[in-house]
């Protein structure tokens, strides 16, 4: 890390304000209290901080495969995480806040027995709810639980007060119950094999405490409250994890923050549109690259299956069944996380490769069908002219099969364009991920959703039209002659 001169810290922009999010005035620029903490820590260590975007639910495996040096993104201190990772001293103390609908009579978690209660996946709140006799509903983004609660789809939401204060308590349909259901700490996650980094970060955190810089950052983000007091004494801080107090220490500053006028309405601006276009470009690039690999792979597999001996046929059939018969998501996980010890692929490479390997299986079947549809008489006619087996395929069978395959191939490319949204699980911010990040930031799913849909359509529709034109050009009956002259030296 020292050599690199960077402290690479992993987080998910989708977590939104106040953790780490994109500055709406300057899209592309990062803001958030964790951004400032990261910068301050890096300064202490004499390096620069570099943010690494990663799906929140995969931060731990991504840290383990070495994508970044630390996790700094509302990572709660739990015994499981302590066993799996090295954790730093706390940098923030949060309280679990229970939100209910404004008119509801619930006063504590105990009143919610048998009811549906929402929270975020992989959080301490989720662990608390799992231990209670109620029905837990898990979400991936922090705004959706409150939307569902307001709509009556759930009866309550249990989440960190940092999230509740900003996304839940400010909604007029909702009410946050006073007192914390439990308290816990946000800590940095560090790799098991980096004890020196753990020590260095703890020293840096202590120094930030002492100089009051941490407090200054937290005050700046309206996060400083009575809960933070014990954190000044790390020993006391370490003792407070777990479900405890129901005392109304819930702090004047927090109440003040919540009572302030809600943040100004955020609007979809030109900067956002630019970010969307960027996402669309990545989607298009990855789709095009992976399809450019999937197509020849499929053709090779189909050829192997139709025109070679038993081992080749078996190999091709096994490949197709294996990759078609298992989820693309699983293949991406295995490629990116599972094989990380064997081969360290970059997110982009893993994305392109994963999509190509998966779609290759589908293309193989498309081409197999198309090749089989060319009458055997055509191959005989080519062989009768003295063409060898390969030449007959190359000049007579393939060109005809390609035309037959084109509609299905176009179809698959459009499908791939949309399936490429799955690659956000391996940290690539493509179009759909960009949409979810912005939706959380703008507290609005409709505008970004429509924008996202429009961009997908803008990519797939011209493609379909273009494919239809090619198809018509290859049509034997209506083809203008100049169109296809695949013979060598014939240009």
């Amino acid at each position: 890390m020292k050599q690199r001169g960077e402290l690479r810290w992993g987080g998910d922009l989708q977590g939104g304000e106040p953790y780490v999010f994109e500055d709406e005035a300057h899209p592309g620029k990062l803001r958030g209290f964790e951004v400032e903490i990261a910068d301050a820590l890096a300064r202490e260590l004499g390096v620069r901080a570099k943010f690494m975007q990663n799906d929140w639910s995969n931060l731990v495996p991504a840290l383990e495969r070495g994508d970044f040096d630390v996790i700094l993104n509302g990572l709660e201190e739990t015994p499981e995480r302590r066993a799996r990772l090295r954790l730093s001293a706390p940098y923030y103390t949060y309280g679990e806040t229970l939100a209910v609908r404004a008119g509801a009579k619930y006063t504590s978690l105990a009143d919610l027995t048998g009811k549906r209660v929402g929270t975020l996946n992989q959080t301490v709140a989720a662990d608390i709810l799992k231990a209670s006799p109620l029905e837990i509903v898990l979400y991936e983004g922090q705004q959706e639980p409150y939307m569902d609660l307001a709509k009556g789809r759930t009866e309550a939401v249990l989440l960190d007060h940092v999230i509740a204060d900003r996304y839940g308590c400010v909604l007029k349909e909702l009410r946050c119950l006073p007192g914390d259901v439990a308290r816990g700490h946000y800590v940095l996650g560090i790799g098991k094999n980096a004890p020196a980094l753990q020590d260095a970060l703890n020293a840096a955190l202590a120094s930030l405490h002492q100089r009051g810089e941490l407090q200054r950052i937290l005050v700046g983000w309206k996060l400083w409250d009575a809960r933070q007091k014990p954190a000044e004494n790390p020993a006391a801080a370490a003792a407070t994890a777990g479900p405890i107090v129901d005392e109304p220490v819930a702090s004047a500053p927090v109440a003040a923050a919540a009572a302030e006028p809600p943040p100004p309405a955020r609007h979809f601006g030109a900067g956002h549109a630019l970010l969307f276009l960027q996402g669309a470009l990545i989607t298009l690039l990855i789709s095009a690259l992976s399809f450019a690999l999937a197509s020849p792979l499929g053709m090779a597999l189909a050829t192997l299956r139709l025109y070679t001996g038993r081992p080749g046929r078996w190999l091709a059939a096994t490949y197709v069944e294996l990759f078609r018969g298992t989820p693309l998501l699983l293949q991406l996980y295995v490629l990116y996380f599972g094989l990380a010890d064997v081969v360290r692929l970059s997110p982009m490479t893993a994305a392109v490769l994963g999509l190509a390997l998966n779609y290759g299986a589908y293309e193989a079947e498309v081409y197999r069908g198309a090749l089989s549809s060319v009458p055997t008489g055509q191959t005989e006619a080519a062989r009768a002219l003295g063409l060898n087996r390969w030449q007959a395929l190359r000049y007579v069978v393939f060109p005809q099969a390609l035309r037959t395959a084109l509609p299905a191939v176009t179809n698959d490319f459009v499908a791939l364009l949309k399936d490429s949204s799955l690659i956000s699980v391996i940290t690539v911010v493509e179009l759909t991920k960009r949409m979810t990040i912005l939706a959380v930031e703008l507290r609005d799913w409709l505008t970004p959703g429509l924008m996202c849909a429009a961009l997908y359509f803008a990519m797939s529709f011209p493609l379909a039209r273009w494919a239809r034109r090619i198809e018509r050009r290859l049509e034997p009956s209506q083809a203008p002659v100049a169109a296809s002259t695949p013979l060598p030296g014939n240009t």
Binding site: L385, G386, N388, P486, L487, N490
Partner: protein, 229 residues
Amino acid sequence: MSSEPVLRLHGVAKRFGARTVLRGITAQVTSGAIVSLVGASGSGKTTLLRCLNGFESIDAGQIRIAGHLVEPGPSDAALTRLRADVGMVFQDYQLFPHLSVLDNLCLAPQVVRKLPRADAEKRARALLEQVGLGDRGKSRPSELSGGQKQRVALARALAQDVRLLLLDEPTSALDAGTRDEVVRILRELVKRAARPLTVVLVTHDLHLAETLSDEVWTLVDGSLASAGA
């Protein structure tokens, strides 16, 4: 017409599983001759024709064609070489629908003989003139009538200056007028071929066999019953 035999068969036999289709055929054809193979359905005439360019492998005997020797179990490469000297016209023509008429003719010369495009095209245009389709080079096969397709198929088979031309039921799908036209063109092609051209054709049409051929071979149950003019 040269008298040197261009095609010699000696004891050629062929089985499909337990069924014997050809029972030791021995015969020869002089260069430049037109031979018709006639016989009832299932008599083995089409199988014999397909043995002459290696589409069917023979189980016994040997075939000599213009310097090529065909024996049981030939290599793929040997057959590919043989086929460059033996043209074949299929009953249903099998023109390549994705290529223009001109490209149908140029494909084999360019790919097999490695002829430059200009040379292949020159030869192809001359052949199209000979079969009366000089103006259809740019057409697609699907734009042609049955008789025109037959003539393109003939021209394509001859584009490599083959020594032996095999025709499978060349007139079965044509009406009488078109048939006479094709016969006239075929005669013309044999007469004007650059190298002596020998023709073996399979037909049900006894009239065609008698008017067109120098020899008619009658196959009965896989044996040559008669061979003569």
